[in-house]
């Protein structure tokens, strides 16, 4: 008997040793020389090498107006160009459009297109391609999810080969940024069914990279476009590897098998602090364009009283969530705009953590612990509710647990329920069957948030599912999307920020940081408010450090 046990423990000991081995070993690898930022910068960027990016999901289609998932959008972003794009400071600049004029108080936009742009097959890009893309976007038989912004266009007129005039039914300022949509080649796609064309897996665009191959579920390879209108990108190949498992991706990083990937907070602050990662990789950190919140069902009588919602806000320690869940890699959210946005009202301060005040406010609203069981009650009803969130997002789950604990401190009994994403949306969010939810919004660069906050957007399946209604906000949201002047818009959105925050329709929790890591051999990366990807075509690897030279 003893023999058996000792043998067993021997085996397990061996396994444990394997488990610990990586940390011990990495220190050995450091001796081999590699790129380091302390080396003198090579003045002249060099062509060559490849970048390997890891993604958990494969793309689904490379037709830009059909691409709704982030993988497809990422590849489309390199293969196609829009008329406009956001620069490093998040201002709109011309891409395929050299310039534009806004006329008649915002009813008309005239785009002047670049004349030296060619499709990857050598044909020139013209205004006909813009018209074609627009017609496909509003075609009822095309399965595009992006038709919304383009339904507001009254007509689109090609004035000459390089001028397009867009008439709107009414002024619609977010419309300008919607022209960042990838423009498709008319001469190739004119007679194709977009959903079922070979170009959806073999795209021809005008962008900095040309499509080379797509091995489903394995990788997508792009090669640099020598005729790109802004000049040939320095990195020859872009390899998009599909690695569904995060742990695998991390092991690949440790063998330098992938060059660029987004980290999770734990990896960023703990697991990549080794000499190996310091030597071979550079980490970056900037606020992402989104926020997480705990939303209330405002039709629920418990939450209809603003004092109750404010009390719950006081009871939740946002800093604690950020340090516990995001390991400090984020900041407190103060409303529907991210802190980097010009729309964000800098005067809005987060509600401080103050459980005593929370209790006082609840008492004022009639919630007291009459029966002494530790849970507040009112009219014989105990203050209990369920916080729902979706499965597969550990950050949200842990956030919910911390909130549950803090609410318990003030006598509110919250339960946490985790539901699979598809079921969560269709059975609970769309049908309004929830009390509180923890969710997040990814925001567009334009501050227009009509669909999230306007009181008309509360039908099942629409985005104001919490049922927020404030007449002044409704009015301002409409004004904001009619106005083009940045200063006037800033005032409008600052006011919206203030009004929504003071209404506490939800508890704004945090804005997480984006945490990309890139192999140290890549130079020319300049972090900016837009992140690091905006100048990707200017990244390069000095000749001596290039890894992938056969192609």
């Amino acid at each position: 008997m003893f023999k058996k046990i000792s043998r067993l423990t021997g085996i397990f000991f061996l396994i444990l040793l394997w488990g610990h081995a990586p940390a011990g070993h990495t220190s050995q690898e450091v001796c081999s020389p590699a790129g380091d930022a302390s080396q003198p910068l090579v003045a002249q960027p060099q062509y060559g090498d490849a970048i390997v990016t890891a993604s958990i999901g494969d793309a689904s289609t490379l037709i830009p107006i059909l691409a709704s998932d982030s993988s497809s959008a990422e590849i489309c972003g390199l293969v196609y160009n829009g008329l406009v794009r956001y620069d490093k400071d998040l201002n709109l600049e011309g891409e395929l459009a050299e310039s534009w004029e806004i006329k008649e108080g915002g009813l008309v936009i005239i785009f002047h297109l670049r004349k030296n742009v060619k499709w990857h097959d050598g044909k020139p890009f013209t205004a006909r391609d813009v018209e074609f893309t627009y017609l496909k976007l509003i075609d009822p038989d095309v399965k595009t999810p992006y038709s919304g912004d383009f339904e507001r266009v009254k007509s689109l007129e090609v004035i000459d080969d390089y001028t397009v005039k867009v008439d709107y039914k009414e002024p619609f300022s977010p419309g300008l940024s919607s022209w960042g949509m990838g423009i498709m080649p008319k001469h190739l796609l004119e007679n194709e069914d977009l959903g079922n064309t070979r170009y959806s897996r073999n795209p021809i665009g005008t962008g900095p990279y040309r499509f080379k191959e797509w091995k489903t579920g394995e990788k997508i390879v792009l090669v640099s476009n020598p005729d790109y209108y802004e000049g040939r990108p320095f990195i020859n190949r872009y390899i998009y590897r599909i690695i569904p498992d995060q742990a695998t991706t991390f092991l690949e990083l440790q063998t330098q098998g992938v060059d660029q990937v987004g980290l999770i907070p734990l990896q960023y602050s703990r697991q990549t602090d080794t000499p190996f990662f310091k030597k071979y990789y550079r980490k970056y950190k900037y606020p992402s364009f989104g926020y997480s919140y705990m939303g209330f069902n405002l039709k629920d009588p418990k939450f209809s009283d603003g004092r109750v919602r404010l009390a719950l806000d006081h009871a939740i320690n946002k800093e604690e969530i950020i340090s516990g869940v995001l390991l400090g890699l984020g900041r407190v959210s103060t409303g529907p705009f991210t802190p980097e946005s010009w729309a964000c009202n800098k005067d809005v301060r987060p509600v401080p953590y103050d459980p005593i005040k929370a209790r006082a406010l609840l008492k004022e609203a009639g919630w007291e612990d009459h029966d002494g069981n530790g849970i507040l009650d009112k009219d014989g009803q105990e203050f209990r509710f369920t916080i729902m969130t979706n499965q597969g997002n550990d950050t949200r789950k842990t956030t919910a647990e911390i909130i549950q604990r803090r609410l318990r401190d003030i006598g509110v009994a919250a339960e946490v329920r985790i539901i699979e994403w598809a079921t969560f949306l269709s059975e609970f969010i769309d049908k309004g069957k929830f009390e509180a939810v923890i969710m997040g919004w990814n925001l567009s660069r334009d501050p227009d948030c009509y669909d999230i906050w306007h009181s008309s957007k509360t039908r099942p399946g629409e985005f104001n599912f919490i049922g927020y209604k404030n007449e002044e906000v409704d009015k301002l949201l409409l004004e904001g999307r009619r106005e083009y002047d940045r200063d006037i818009r800033r005032q409008i959105y600052n006011r919206i920020n203030r009004l929504i925050f003071d209404d506490h329709p939800c508890i704004f929790l945090y804005v997480p940081d984006a945490l990309p890591i890139v192999h140290a051999r890549f130079r020319g990366i300049e972090p900016a408010p837009a992140g690091i990807g905006y100048n990707f075509i200017k990244w390069y690897v000095p000749t001596g450090e290039q890894r992938y030279t056969r192609w």
């Binding site: 394997w18 488990g19 399965k143 999810p145 579920g217 394995e218 092991l251 690949e252 992938y548």
Partner: protein, 325 residues
């Protein structure tokens, strides 16, 4: 014999209809719509746009109408088109089936090469030290979570020793390799996934083999063989083994669905674009045509696998073939 096979084939049709009918309705009963997921949770995608998508995919029709349309298409050998990327389902399955079958066949071969000898030897030396060790070893394999073993091996051979690639099935410069390099590259990439998927299967087969061997060794004809003075080797490997392998044949039949179902776990971990991953992704995206396609092919193959096992049985054992007459 032909008669027997034909009878069995006829019997498969109603089973198949039953399987597809039930799976179709169960899948449509599960909450969540493909169009809702496709649009993720982006405020830029309006309700009207999503309703339009429902209409274009035919999701606004009643379920029984959708099923009827699916059957009609199927009768023309058309599995339909994926909701996610509009590609024909047969094409999506077709490009993923080879790698999954390759890995599973390799691991099946490995399982049989290792598990059958382990089973035989531990049955022959029942109760010995060797039997006990192999039992413990086999059960560790059985109990060990696949994903954990996979990650440990990746970490050991991929990161620490650097002998094998961490994940994927081909190197980045695979296309530029010559034939020898290509084969070597594939072997290096497949070594871990095949080992991991075989390791878990080892336990079951070796236990079946052991049990069936033990049973046979106690049979009268084995005693007769020994009594007439045959060498022990011949008794075991000629007389006993042949009979003991029969139940194992059934197990081959049962592993056919695994061949196309693949394994989500090791395919995800090793970043292998196989069937398991395709099926998992399509369930998560509620991509009904792909789900139905995979299940249908899986059902057909399972039935065929059972049929082959039964035919082999009938061939080996005349009593089965005759009883139906």
């Amino acid at each position: 014999m032909v008669n027997y096979i034909v009878r069995r084939l006829m019997g498969m049709v109603p089973v198949l209809i039953g399987i597809t009918l039930i799976t179709f309705f169960v899948i449509h009963l599960s909450p969540g719509k493909p169009t809702r997921l496709q649009a993720e949770m982006s405020p830029k995608i309006s309700l009207e746009a999503r309703e339009k998508l429902d209409r274009l995919y035919g999701l606004d029709k009643p379920v029984h109408v959708q099923y009827w349309e699916w059957v009609k298409r199927l009768s023309a050998m058309d599995l339909g088109k994926s909701f996610v990327d509009e590609r024909p389902v047969s094409e999506k399955i077709g490009e993923r089936i080879p790698i999954t079958i390759a890995i599973n066949v390799l691991s099946l071969i490995m399982i049989f090469l290792v598990a059958v000898p382990i089973g035989i030897t531990s049955a022959v030396r029942e109760g010995s030290e060797y039997d006990r060790i192999s039992t413990v070893f086999v059960f560790i394999g059985f109990a060990m979570p696949t994903f954990w073993l996979a990650l440990l091996l990746m970490s050991l051979f991929g990161v620490n020793l650097g002998w094998l690639p961490v994940s994927g099935i081909k190197s980045i410069d695979f296309e530029d390799y010559n034939l020898v390099e290509k084969i070597f590259d594939l072997i290096r990439h497949l070594a871990l996934p095949v080992f991991v998927s075989a390791f878990a299967g080892l336990a079951g087969i070796s236990r079946y083999m052991r049990a069936s061997m033990l049973e046979i060794l106690n049979k009268d004809f084995v005693r007769t063989a020994r009594a007439k003075g045959l060498p022990e080797k011949q008794v075991i490997y000629k007389h006993a083994l042949r009979n003991a392998l029969l139940p194992i044949v059934t197990i081959i039949g049962l592993s056919v669905p695994g061949l196309i179902g693949g394994s989500v776990i090791f395919e995800s971990i090793y970043a292998i674009p196989g069937m398991g991953k395709l099926f998992y992704d399509s369930v998560m995206a509620r991509d009904y045509p792909v789900i139905m396609g995979v299940l249908f092919i899986g059902a057909v193959l399972t039935l065929i696998g059972n049929l082959i096992a039964d035919v082999m049985y009938a061939y080996a054992d005349p009593r089965i073939r005759m009883s139906g007459r």
